[in-house]
């Protein structure tokens, strides 16, 4: 009887779930295995499944012979800059949307939603000419501004939903106690919204880190982020899959871990607000 139940659960739950998980992580796991197999061995014998065939060759080459760490530094600067710009201008906007009913509220909220929907190709060409005119091509600022086109609307919507979840009575109580509006925002709402602000910031960090098209178009030899750099690992004459896979693993790991940390809280905000994934 009991074995029957177990068998049934194995067939209806454990095995199907394992298959879905395999689909989800299989390709990435394959890349990790590839990165651990020395390049010559990949061509000769294929990717090694057992630790006996593994080595750190690709990683040594990646960190020793290429400027990959430097690229990660550029990505870090761009991503942190985007987080700062995105959050600073969005927090007050979110507070205004969630606490006031004013003329033009709908139109302004719509504006931020609309911005998020526009195709990146429509923006990438004029941003390129704009940055060229301002002499900003190949600078961190250019990439921060470009990433902010996505980050600001996203942050406004996410934070509006987080701040909206904080009861209005709390700011009112603070104001009866003598706080001004802005003091209530700073002393009451901000601390309570902090978890939401942090996860929004982390999500912006992840998307900026992962961004590719702007980095490719507006960056250059001085500012080359990880995503652009990974492509250059591909090699001139022959594709170096081992090195490439190592770059992919190192470049993706920091944000993957961050993502796993915030995903739960993020889903709440995503299902309430309506934002780009």
């Amino acid at each position: 009887m009991k074995r029957d139940g177990f068998l049934k659960r194995l067939l209806t739950t454990h095995i199907p779930v394992a298959l879905v998980v395999l689909v989800a992580i299989g390709p990435f796991a394959w890349m990790i295995l590839t990165s651990l197999t020395p390049s010559e061995a990949i061509v000769a014998k294929g990717v090694a499944f057992s630790p006996a065939g593994w080595g750190a060759d690709n990683y040594v080459r990646l960190l020793g012979h290429t400027d990959f760490l430097g690229n990660m530094g550029h990505s870090l600067i761009v991503a942190l800059g985007t987080v700062a710009l995105g959050l600073v201008v969005s927090v007050t906007a979110a507070y205004a949307f969630s606490r006031f009913r004013f003329f033009g509220r709908r139109v302004l909220m719509l504006q931020f939603l609309l911005v998020n929907m526009f195709p990146i190709v429509l923006l990438i060409l004029p941003l390129f000419t704009l940055m060229r005119r301002l002499g900003l091509l190949d600078t961190h600022l250019a990439l921060i501004i470009a990433n902010a086109t996505v980050a600001i609307p996203f942050a406004v919507w996410m934070l509006t939903s987080y701040v909206g979840a904080i009861p209005k009575s709390l700011d009112e109580a603070a104001m009866i106690d003598g706080c001004s509006r802005l003091q209530a925002l700073r002393r009451v709402v901000l601390p309570l919204a902090l978890p939401g602000i942090i996860s929004t910031g982390i999500y912006i960090f992840i998307t900026s880190w992962n961004e590719y098209l702007y980095a490719l178009t507006l960056g250059g030899r001085h500012v080359r982020t990880v995503t652009v750099a990974i492509q250059t690992l591909i090699g001139e004459y022959q594709i170096e899959w081992g090195l490439l896979a190592a770059g992919g693993v190192v470049g993706a790991l920091p944000v993957t871990i961050l993502f796993l940390i915030v995903q739960r809280r993020l889903v709440g905000g995503l299902t309430q607000g309506a934002v780009k994934g």
């Binding site: 454990h14 879905v20 906007a93 719509l110 939603l113 429509l122 004029p126 902010a148 009866i176 992919g248």
Partner: protein
């Protein structure tokens, strides 16, 4: 306890209150100013410039030769067979990717909604494709699809499903589908996570009542689960239509649009035109046309969301 002070607070500020009212009527606009100004400068102004550029003959390395040509770029576009190919492939791209992402996401969500010991780990692992950078995904799948030593051919040959190695990304007939498979893989965790959140909002009591009434698993799914997650499916579906339509980074890195034009979508066409030929006038015209077409979907989505905001 708090009587006299409260009464004073309520009674006293009659005259200042009006001033406060006026200040508070102004305050939301002040709070919004930074965000609005920044988006005006970095989004709306460039967008207007793109629109203007689409009416010019503007090639980047000949900036002084830029001249106003009216609708010439659009006329050229509608006579360009590549445009119609790209348009058809964009429809195919969205029409296949979206349902595939949604069904795979639904299956994953239904499974992950069951109770089992390693549910937490399974949920975390399933969303990994969502977190990975598009470039990494694209390169990873190029490696999987590699015609000579890629694992997909290897696997299929061993299982006797195919007789000879398939050049997945180099053959015009299968390249688009190969990229669609990759994008499906990248996008299904988003649906899984959204649908899972919807499933958890359906009260258990409904299933219990249905079970008592003798409803089969399929009928429970049709009459309780599906209606319960319908709003989320609609919102997530619209959102992803826009996202899938716009996403060109994966295609760009995997095939660059090739072989030939077989994996061109409209936004990719615009990007490649501008990037390789530096033809910003024509590129902008393609981008504007694509935006107008996508605008229809966006309008539906926004109407929906704004309705929810009002509630």
């Amino acid at each position: 306890m708090s009587s006299i002070d409260d009464v004073m607070a309520l009674e006293a500020p009659r005259p200042p209150r009006r001033r406060r009212l006026r200040r508070s009527a102004f305050l939301p606009y002040a709070l919004l100013t930074p965000a609005v100004i920044v988006t005006l400068i970095i989004v709306f102004a460039p967008m207007v410039e793109a629109l203007v550029t689409s009416f010019y003959d503007y090639v980047l390395f000949r900036p002084n030769a830029a001249k106003f040509v009216g609708f010439a770029n659009f006329v050229k576009l509608f006579n360009d067979p590549v445009f119609w190919t790209s348009l058809w492939q964009t429809a195919l791209w969205i029409g296949l990717t979206l349902p595939l992402q949604m069904s795979l996401g639904l299956i994953a969500a239904l499974l992950l909604n069951k109770e089992f010991a390693w549910r937490g780990i399974a949920r975390a692992l399933v969303i990994i494709p969502w977190a990975l950078p598009s470039v990494v995904i694209a390169l990873m799948w190029r490696w999987i699809y590699d015609p000579n030593i890629g694992i997909l051919n290897d696997l299929l040959l061993r299982l006797d499903i195919i007789r000879a190695a398939v050049p997945w990304l180099a053959s015009p007939d299968v390249a688009l589908y190969a990229v669609i498979a990759t994008l499906t893989w990248q996008g299904f965790p988003f649906f899984a996570v959204m649908i899972l959140a919807g499933l958890q909002g359906i009260p258990k009591s409904q299933y219990e009542a249905a079970a008592i009434d003798g409803a089969s698993a399929w009928r429970q799914f049709r009459h309780i689960t599906l209606p319960g997650i319908a709003p989320i499916l609609a919102t997530a579906g619209l959102l992803r239509t826009i996202w899938v339509a716009n996403s060109i980074d994966v295609i760009f890195v995997m095939t660059g649009g090739g072989p030939g034009y077989s994996t061109y979508t409209l936004p990719l066409f615009a990007f490649v035109k501008a990037r390789q030929n530096l033809d910003f006038g024509y590129g902008s015209a393609i981008a504007v046309t694509f935006t107008v077409i996508l605008g229809a979907v966006v309008a539906v989505y926004i109407a929906r969301t704004m309705r929810e905001v009002e509630r």
